[in-house]
Assembly symmetry: C2
Homo-oligomer: 334 residues x 2
Amino acid sequence: MVSLKDIAAITGVSIRTVNRALRNDGYVREDIRKQVLEITQRLGYRPHLAARTLKTGRSSEISAIIGSLDELHMEKMLAFERTLRAAGYSVHILFGPHDASDDLETDRVLRALTDRRPAAAALFPQAHVPVARAVAQFDLLRIPYVVLDAMDESTDNVGIDRQQGVYESVNYLISVGRRNVAYLGYTSDRPGDYVSGRTRLDGYERAMRARGLPQRVFAIEPHVSESDGGRKAIDAFLAAVPRPDAVQVYTDVMAAAFMASLHDHGIRIPEEVAVIGFDNRRVAELCWPRLTTVSQANQEVGVAAADMLLGKMAGRTPPPGWVVAFVPRQARGA
Amino acid sequence: MVSLKDIAAITGVSIRTVNRALRNDGYVREDIRKQVLEITQRLGYRPHLAARTLKTGRSSEISAIIGSLDELHMEKMLAFERTLRAAGYSVHILFGPHDASDDLETDRVLRALTDRRPAAAALFPQAHVPVARAVAQFDLLRIPYVVLDAMDESTDNVGIDRQQGVYESVNYLISVGRRNVAYLGYTSDRPGDYVSGRTRLDGYERAMRARGLPQRVFAIEPHVSESDGGRKAIDAFLAAVPRPDAVQVYTDVMAAAFMASLHDHGIRIPEEVAVIGFDNRRVAELCWPRLTTVSQANQEVGVAAADMLLGKMAGRTPPPGWVVAFVPRQARGA
DNA sequence: TTGTAAGCGTTATCAA
DNA sequence: TTGATAACGCTTACAA
């Protein structure tokens, strides 16, 4: 690999001069600058990042811990990465442990991150690393960090206002004439873990209360998967009196599963019951009928998280519990 | 940050001795080793990776270029990462350009990769980096590499045998009594770009020919999206005489879209027509009725790719055009 | 306008 | 058993 030394030797000047020419730092005779640039080009010189990091003490890498990125988190990540790249940083991804309660694995991941001495760190949703543990580590090592969407206001967190999202979604159902709107989904939040049942339920209750409409909740137990929950909810739905004419479901995945069960029982959608999801996942448009859904502001979250990091790296203190406004973007089908 | 020097100073020995104790390299007096380890522990010493990389000339990072990982590629990535991590490497992810024809962006990504001087490189499906270009660069810099699933036998490629997958899938449909099996999907391969229409069609034709059954192909143009293609195929399907009693579809996404159109026309699944997908995506179990699908050996591909890299790094030459055997794993619903 | 030299934290050679 | 020391490639204070 060609180094500054090589270029200096060929050009017949000192390393420092080559360095000056390459970084536009101070005066360099014009013909020498030209020559250095030409040789650099020809030899395909590239700076040795490790050497630079060692010398300057700071890398230009930002480490993000993720779980298995689904399409939603992927959107966040792409926006996050693009924003930071534009600011001259490169994003390094690490995979969290399989299981959040695996302390050894958690340590391993955090160590892998801190060993790299990144310029900053990000904790993505479902990374399976306890937020408090990670934050303690980052604080200790003075690594600027951001947590994405952790249902946890106590840290520098960027999240989506799901309460408002569900509120507007339920309002939409009411505005098109539905009166017996039910909520189907989880009903508690799990701080640091992305499950936001209580928050969403709040939005539902707020919307129904405002209109004086009767509330009906089909609660899914925390340990039940979204698709299982959606499918099994059919019994409670069938038993309900009066039967809801609309259901606000926790996510698109759960909604699709619920719709499949409705089909099994010959219940017509949306004539007998309207179903609305949450997330605007790809499955929403593959369902039959197409699923109406609420789009989360994933890109905005990614950008906001990146901005928060850039701010913290520049020494600014972010506002506490920063929440990105909910942005409804698409509603399809019925 | 605490360094070897600090530990040496505290312990009252030389850096070299600390280094020896920590790396179990050569003789160290037992009590000193104990003490060094204790202090290391207490101070939370961690080696500076950049310094190590600078000194040794090789990092223990493996860079992978990806596009937006969907659930299938994510499976590959997780297996890939796990395998390499077990071997002591860490995987660094870079995002490819948005558009494969963007030469500037392609250069940028490849430069970002090579600047990091990784121990090896991997090119994931849909990374939007031209395979030939990347491979040329890797060869030039002597970076061991592997390409995943690129429909390109000319490089060190690990892929899935989709021909065989479709062949077995069609055979399955025949075995359950279907005779008018059609193929719906793309019909050409795009080398280096993951589209494998011709390959799959070959599998279909082979299966039908073997039984002497009539073939029917609903071809989707390359520029049409999977969901659009699936939806629009309904016209050709309705016009077909005789009407197929089963359809082997390119992917689950396309199959779900096609099924939605069948529902729109009141055609009963699977009574009138059986639909079978490919990929075993999550959408398969959210469809109604559940979509029978063919599972790709994603984890096996991830592991195989990792193994190929480990082999190349150890100086072994991999067999050309290595293909992971197709592994059918799940078939659901109908 | 240019060059010398120190130093970042490791690894590893060589001598003691 | 141990330690002095050079080197990796870069940045940068200082001198010329």
